[in-house]
């Protein structure tokens, strides 16, 4: 079984995010970029399935700028076998990314697609669901456990108030939650080997996808800074403030 894994290049989670002066977007010039943490979990899960003999090949794919090669190489250092980069300008909308993935799914016929549940930059949480719809494959989102059992994928999902395990018939789409696994550190010899693993570069047009804009960013603002708290003299005062000022009770 082949596994296709999505990898997105995003701002590093250690970087303090700044908004551009003209409020048009987040400022990404010269900041450190890294693999989206949920994608790292997806890569790790796929590699573990390969190590367990369940999968035969792990393909990583990214839709993004040329620099996304760095994250694909990183994924190959972690154990993926080959990579596909679909070159596009940054900020491709989820539906367009999903269409590109659908085209590759059609071509590669993976038994399983594993994606991060969302990327930490735009936090859309849409791509996996859209891909399932486009490919008409079953989906298991927010996976905290994944077991392949014959032609079924048993996906334990984190839902409000507990866990729910569902059985999907393969081929299927799974998106990862934080607790699915703890990604490994790449080994130095594997970083060296990753340089020589195949990386195929395509364009959206090669896949027959036209990137269409469905929404427009009007303005990006930094969250309001938290104002200082106050001390109340009594429980009564606290209750009255919660009622009258905060209006939460």
């Amino acid at each position: 079984m082949k596994i296709l894994v999505g990898v997105k290049r995003v701002i590093d989670y250690n970087v303090k995010v700044r908004v551009k002066a003209d409020q048009s977007n987040v400022d990404l010039t010269n900041v450190k970029m890294a693999m989206n943490p949920f994608c790292e979990i997806a890569v790790e899960e796929a590699v573990r399935l390969k190590e367990a003999g369940v999968a035969s090949e792990v393909i990583v794919m990214s839709v993004g700028t040329t620099q996304s090669q760095e994250q694909l190489r990183n994924a190959m250092a972690l154990g993926a076998d080959r990579a596909i980069l679909v070159e596009a300008e940054s900020d491709v909308e989820p539906l367009n990314v999903a269409k590109a993935f659908a085209a590759v799914v059609e071509k590669e016929q993976p038994g399983l697609v594993i994606l991060g549940k969302q990327s930490i930059d735009s936090d859309n949480n849409q791509m996996g669901q859209m891909l399932a719809a486009l490919t008409k494959r079953p989906q298991g989102t927010f996976a905290s456990k994944l077991v392949i059992d014959g032609d079924k994928a048993l996906v334990t999902r984190e839902i409000d108030g507990g866990l729910r395990t569902i059985a999907l018939t393969l081929p299927a789409i799974v998106t990862t939650d934080l607790r699915l696994n703890e990604p490994r550190y790449a080994k130095l010899p594997d970083i060296m080997k990753a340089k020589r693993k195949p990386l195929e570069t395509l364009s959206l047009a090669d896949l027959g996808v036209t990137s269409k804009a469905h929404c427009r960013i009007d303005k990006v603002e930094a969250p309001a800074t938290r104002s200082a708290g106050i001390k109340v003299a009594s429980v009564d005062e606290l209750i009255s403030k919660l009622k009258d000022e905060a209006k939460v009770i």
Binding site: R73, N74, A186, L188, I191
Partner: protein, 592 residues
Amino acid sequence: MTYQAPYKDMQLLVAQAYQQQGLDALESLDGFDPELANAVMEEAAKFAAGVLAPLNSVGDMQGCRFQDGNVITPDGWQDAYQQFAESGWIGLALPEEFGGQGLPKYIAQPVNEMWLSANLAFVMFHALAQGGSEILLAFANESIQKRYLPKIVSGEWTVAMALTEPNAGSDLGALNTKAIPQQDGTYKIKGQKIYITYGDHDLTDNIAHLVLARTPDAPTGSRGISLFIVPKYRVSEDGSLGEFNDVHCTGIEHKMGLHGSPTCSISYGDQDDCVGELVGELNQGLMAMFVLMNEARLSCGLQGVALGELGYQRALEYAKERTQGTNSQGEKVAIVEHADVKRMLLEMRSETFALRALGYQIAAQIDATESAVDKTESNQIKKDRVALLTPIFKAFATERVNVMAGQVIQVFGGMGFVEETGVAQIMRDARITTIYEGTTGIQARDLMFRKVRGDQGKALTELLADITQLASSFESDQVFAAMAKETQQVVTKVTSLLDSHLLNSQGNTSSSDATSLHAVSVPFLEAMGILCCTWQLLNVLAYQQVQENTDESYMQNLRALAAFYGAYRLPSAMAALKVVENAGAGVSEYEF
């Protein structure tokens, strides 16, 4: 937050050193380009921050323990060691033939810096594996290489360097551990060694000790010292482990810092049953040590850079959080807004950055000399340059980090003096760096007598010419003209001292002259350190100004950093040179 690798600075300086030392033109480094360096650095940064840094304070607070003749490392050390070894980091710059990755030094340098910042006490074993392997590669016979190197490179065994004895510290010629030749060509080793880093521990099954000892008929002094490899457990022909080799740890030191690194006293041959094999030629042990020493000194200088970075990060973070006092508008501000705190942060940042640049250039220059196709004169000039810069880098970086560690505590104020914040550890850990691998005094003497007088000032003159040339390119710069001029003045002063003091005009120095010079060798090194930092900062500006895709706000900050250094630190170079000029004779006047 614990340490995060200063990825951007590192990336910039690595790429610059690679280009400036002409490594892109070397066929032997084909594929080992900055792109690979970045991929390796990125992963190392994760490992340093995720695995090593969180254990730094654990090691400091818990320390190593000595129980029933065994050394127990702090909690977490064993797991971290396993991960470190399995990830292949030990063999990063060691030959592929023995399981390493054979990466050039210019890539190893930033990676090593990350380890040293993240957890200096922990990674002490790494430089030992690197240096020990280089000794075995250069001097050991094939049988020893085959049995030991693959295990060392993979991290299955560690290396310990057993040099010091109670009466033989900086003066190794005084050591008297014995090596008695046996019928089978091996030696029976007997003696006591002290201050052996990772001389014993619970991380691996075996430890390869490289021991300096004397054979019965060896000449006295340093010409009679030979090097032996002495395993804790004997190693059979096929490389498997044999019986215990009578190597006992008799205790560990309770030290001021580096609590997580076991500093052992080792007794060899208590039962007359400790077997060693000769490495290299008889009585040539010190030569092997010199291979290690140069490596160790550069690595030690890098420790200065690494701890400076760690301290700077901690101080900056605190200075941004801690509100105290008001600004001119009467608003409460974080202390980073206060000019004097800015000054301290800038002193740390500018010197750490400059020394990092110097260290990376030295590493790339070593790569260039080692890979050069023609071993001609220009290659020798490069080697002499490295030899000249080594004592400056080692001593200046480590002396300065001690000052910086004090400043980190100063920024923290009273909280810095409280152990809970963890910054006192930086000061305690840094304190040894000016002592081990040759004290500051020894580096300064090496610089003045061997590196400068030894070649009649040739290498120094070449360096000064390069610095002058670079400075002159800033002569008409609006911001840097004054700094360039002052740099030239320092160069001129060094040149005149070279004639008047450092090189005796007739070449026959009286012993009182030598004493006077020796007395001011540390101030001379200090002046050279400041001059080299100035050189590096100007070099970064000159180089980056002509690069494309540079980040303007980052460059603006680098310019401010260099200008600060020129204004705040460069004048100290001239002051130190005045000391060199005048203060030497005075030390002989006082009767102690």
